[in-house]
Amino acid sequence: MRLALYREMTLNSLRTSLAFRSEVILFLFGQLLRLFVQVYIWRALFANSTELSSQSGMITLSEMITYSVVSTAISVFATNDVIFRVSRKVSSGEIAMDLIKPMSFRSVLFCQTLGVNVYRILFELLPLMMVSLILFGVHLPTLANGLAFLGLVVGGLILNFLITYAIGLIAFWYILVWQVNTVLDGLIRLLSGAFIPIWFFSDTLVKLSYFFPFRLIYYEPIAVFLGKTTGWANLLGLFAQQLAWIVGLLLLQRWMWGRAVRRLVVQGG
């Protein structure tokens, strides 16, 4: 293992983010605005009732508000620019400079993404959560569910990276990655439960969501957070699903990479 190298690469990316510190206040304002909109939509939908029936039993308004807050929290670091990075590197030929280094291209990207994520957790997620806790009452999970939630979020993060990396690799064949990205965004928005929990979905949509890994990034961890999923068997089941997707994506990437490298034409020079 080359932990020292990965640590240094991640720290370097974190330092770069710090040097380019984006406007934290502006970000916070934007995210809070979005949260407010969601909270008011849910208030309106609940109207006078305190509970709505769903696929996983009765849901209260305050649970929905918690759902929105946690979903926003996950979205802070489950958005990355890996697709964009890969396609830019491939089309500009900059990828050559990564390939002359004794390190896998994926590790380079992963460390860079991780560094940015750490930055975002410190400077975007923490302030956002503090303000949210004050403005909106948030349900806190039990210890067991809290820990499982954290584990699932980490798994979701890895899953998210692998999905975006696999899509980024398409750039070796087509430079139309932006269009693919738009489709992906739509799919995630719909099928991950980032905005509307899967428990309000119709039966067909629920079935459809099982064909994609996205629900394991947003919906399932949040359901654990809210205590809708409990019991060792169920929790382990979620981890197993994440693991299966991760292994599947790794295999897919190995296959793609083997092909991609063969057809790589390094532009310029």
Binding site: L5, M9, E94, A96, I100, P102, V261, V265, G268, G269
Partner: protein, 343 residues
């Protein structure tokens, strides 16, 4: 065993044909037509440990393409590259550990990171032991003079500064081989000289094998013991610099200052002397030194004019290569068939 073995190496690029006009364009959306461009064609050579090889040729000759295949970032269409007994693109990471590379047009350093931080990352990248890192840094710092810009982010370096930083990064881990693709492009004379000195030292003291492409013939003259010339993807010449000079550097130039203006003479012309630029009383003459001796010419002139001064210039390497390229164009593919002319 040779350090680098290249056998019948070939690289073809598929290029999409561009269509003009509406219908051809529409058709190309459905059915794409490609044309094949052979960038490297059946090149074979071997390079031994410790050699400094200049790899030269006109623009678009296939130099960078060959280097990319040797480095392992481009997969050959056919043929073999073996470096240290390994096939670079199949063992990319293993190969990358033992080589250094500088591509003049791109930087391998982290764009947004200060130079010194970038170099420190290199240390982790290649697992360089602490003491070796310190020792090399100190040495390279002296020669490349990194101090003045080591805290600056790579993106804000000047071209020459970036090149020095890149060279340092490529050599910190004491690679067996270093590939330099136009390492002196766009640099001022002082920096160029410094970089040449650095490369020479590395080669002499560590026995590092150097493969270098350049359009600056002074690089070749000052660094390389061996030259390989490619054109249109084919290896046209492979040998040492002296032989090249003897084969193609047979034209000599003489400048004569006389009291009275010099008149062209049929007799001299018949002796094989050509008249070059003439301004007032200074005359340039060129001739093949293998067929006529400069003393014969000067004697002929002194018998007829009073000579104030004269100099004999051996052909510069620049001129030799120019002659060679022109020679290749006439012997090889006709100029109009070249892709570059079409685009």
């Amino acid at each position: 065993m040779a350090l680098i073995e290249v056998e019948y190496l070939r690289k073809e690029f598929k290029r999409q044909k561009r269509k003009d006009g509406f219908w051809p364009l529409m058709k190309s959306l459905v059915h794409r037509e490609y044309e094949i461009k052979t960038a490297v064609e059946n090149i074979s050579f071997t390079i031994d440990r410790g050699e400094v090889v200049g790899y030269i040729g006109p623009n678009g000759a296939g130099k960078s393409t060959t280097i990319k295949m040797m480095v392992g970032i481009l997969v050959p269409t056919s043929g073999i590259v073996r470096v240290n007994g390994l096939v670079p693109y199949e063992n990319r990471i293993e190969n990358a550990r033992r080589i250094g590379a500088v591509f003049g047009q791109k930087s391998q350093l982290w764009w947004d990171t200060p130079v010194i931080e970038s170099l420190r990352l290199t240390k982790y990248m290649y697992d360089i032991p602490n003491d070796r890192y310190e020792r090399n840094m100190k040495l390279f710092n002296d020669v490349l003079d990194l101090d003045e810009f080591k805290k600056v982010a790579v993106r804000s370096l000047s071209l020459g500064q970036r090149m020095r930083a890149d060279l340092c990064a490529a050599l910190l881990h004491d690679p067996d081989i270093v590939y330099l693709d136009e390492p002196t492009i766009g640099l001022d004379v002082v920096v160029k000289e410094r970089i040449r000195q650095f490369i020479r030292e590395i080669n002499r003291e560590r026995g590092t094998t150097v493969i270098l492409t350049t359009h600056d013939m002074a690089d070749i003259e000052k660094l390389c013991s061996r030259v390989m010339v490619v054109d249109h993807g084919k290896l046209m010449y492979d040998g040492n610099l002296e032989t090249l000079k003897n084969d193609f550097g047979n034209m000599e130039k003489m400048e004569v200052d006389t009291d009275e203006p010099f008149a062209m003479s049929e007799e001299l012309r018949r002796m094989g002397v050509a008249f070059g630029l003439t301004e007032e009383n200074r005359t340039q003459l060129t001739y093949d030194k293998n067929s006529i001796n400069s003393t014969v010419i000067i004697k002929w002139i002194m018998e007829r004019y009073s000579v104030r001064d004269f100099i004999v210039k051996e052909t510069e390497i620049e001129q030799i290569i120019r002659d060679l390229y022109i020679h290749l164009q006439q012997q090889g593919t006709p100029v109009s068939a070249r892709e570059e002319a079409l685009i």
